[in-house]
């Protein structure tokens, strides 16, 4: 099977908050690291995110959520991906996520959670190490 020469990432913002500065900073860092980023904009439902991820055939879905609904939204994305044949897609989460929520999120299948202190370089490196490139 053929392999792409680059990693494709969907950067998505589930939930109702209207702030995408963080998501855009991450998107730019990934682009500068040679990745192809599909940015879908604000206020996406898990269903919309999963449909976009599958249609775009991405290797990674990076979710950013500041609304506080991450405990519902992130696992929902993982679950829908698994149901629809996207189990091999790496799911990452970011935003204002309380420390105590992280273990359950990881348990649900979100591979890593990046909180506001994380450098973009750390995110780039994590993706390079863990994405299953198609």
């Amino acid at each position: 099977m053929s392999q792409r020469s680059f990693i494709r990432v969907l950067v998505a913002k589930p939930g109702l908050d209207g702030h995408d500065r963080g998501a855009k900073i991450v998107a730019r860092a990934l682009r500068d690291a040679g990745m192809e980023v599909i940015y879908t904009g604000l206020r996406q439902t898990p269903e919309q995110i999963v449909e976009a991820a599958l249609q775009e055939d991405v290797d990674v879905v990076a979710l950013s959520c500041l609304s506080g609904a991450h405990n519902y939204l992130f696992p929902k994305v993982v679950e829908l991906l698994r149901q629809q044949g996207g189990a091999d897609i790496l799911v990452l989460g970011g935003g204002v996520i309380p420390e105590e929520d992280i273990p359950a999120l990881k348990q649900s299948g979100v591979k890593e959670i990046f909180t506001p202190g994380t450098t973009t370089q750390a995110i780039v490196e994590f993706i390079r190490a863990h994405a299953i490139q198609k």
Binding site: M1, S2, Q3, R4, S5, F6, R8, A27, R28, L30, R31, D32, A33, G34, M35, E36, V37, I38, Y39, T40, G41, E47, Q48, E51, A52, L54, Q55, E56, D57, Q84, G85, G86, D88, K134
Partner: protein, 312 residues
């Protein structure tokens, strides 16, 4: 991960995931995957191919979404191919056209795919024709292609579609020279978008004047893509253009040009891989001559090319 036979089966049964996978394989320029195309070929299945081009921010994506919506409403299956620029240095890209697709996302019979302009081996002009063929074989009635409107590869791509919509905005038409040379000439329908802004009518008239110098009468329309004003007229205009092309043979001519281009590119890619391998083989043992300057690369290259051709 889907394996080859399974992939073909899923594709033929209309599974979008299989389509998405196959588009990636073809985009990666994998020669073997291009042979998959043969397995998907369906006789007589034809899609209508609409290209939208124009300067950055003109409203191409918003307009593409509105066009797709109208076509979906009348029962057509629609694919959108959205091209955004990649960085020439890192190859990375932020593909943002999907932001404008919220109103139609999730509709059945719709497939949306973003492409980086340099994300594929051999460039956009090589990747797009086989991707279009895939989408056609998958069963879409209409394929809408959005390009950035700058750069030679883009012009190459847009040249091969059935109908070209060139979009501009009020003000930009004041200086017709500002429109990239070659773009105006390929317009089948000209759109002045953002007609809610001042000067749209004036820009439209200037474009009409400029287009009069060309060979055929290209309609100039005004639209407000955000609200959909003018979109029904654009659809009518595209339908009329399609019918005219069907009647006068232009459609067949454009399809032939598209297929020829794709065939040439594919044949060339097969030869170039073999040629490169062969040249490498021949060079072993002779590289020292080149390195020392006894033989120059041009005479050596010419001799190898001649021998390669004789051997065929």
């Amino acid at each position: 991960m889907l394996y080859k036979n399974e992939l073909i089966q899923s594709f033929l049964s209309g599974d979008m995931r299989a389509l998405a996978r196959t588009v990636s394989m073809v985009e990666a320029g994998d020669l073997q995957s291009l042979q998959l195309l043969a397995a998907f070929a369906r006789e007589g299945k034809r899609a209508r191919l609409i290209g939208i081009t124009g300067p950055p921010g003109a409203g191409k994506s918003t307009l593409a979404a509105k066009l797709a919506e109208s076509l979906l409403d009348r029962g057509e299956r629609v694919a959108l191919l959205l091209i955004d620029p990649s960085s020439p240095f890192t190859g990375g890209a932020i593909l943002g056209d999907r932001i404008r697709m919220h109103a139609i996302a999730g509709r059945s019979g719709l497939y949306i795919r973003s492409l980086g302009s340099r994300g594929s081996l051999g460039g956009l002009s090589r990747a797009v024709p086989p991707i279009v063929q895939l989408l056609e074989n998958f069963g879409f009635d209409a394929i809408i292609l959005e390009t950035v409107g700058t750069g030679q590869a883009e012009t190459d791509v847009i040249e091969t579609v059935d109908s070209v919509v060139v979009v501009t905005v009020p003000g930009l038409g004041d200086d017709v020279q500002a429109m990239k040379a070659g773009i105006i000439e390929i317009a089948d329908v000209f759109v002045v978008n953002k007609a809610d802004r001042e000067g749209a009518e004036r820009t439209a008239r200037q474009m009409e004047e400029a287009l009069k110098l060309g060979p055929s009468d290209v309609p100039v329309l005004t639209t407000i893509a955000t609200t959909g004003v003018g979109v029904p007229a654009l659809i009518s205009s595209l339908d009329a253009h399609y019918q005219t092309m069907l009647a006068d043979g232009e459609l067949a001519k454009r399809r032939e040009r598209r297929l020829r281009k794709a065939l040439h590119a594919y044949a060339a890619s097969l030869v170039s891989v073999r040629l490169a391998e062969w040249v490498e083989e021949q060079l072993t043992g002779h590289w020292a001559d080149i390195e020392s300057g006894r033989v120059d690369i041009y005479s050596c290259g010419r001799r190898l090319a001649e021998e390669f051709q004789k051997g065929r």
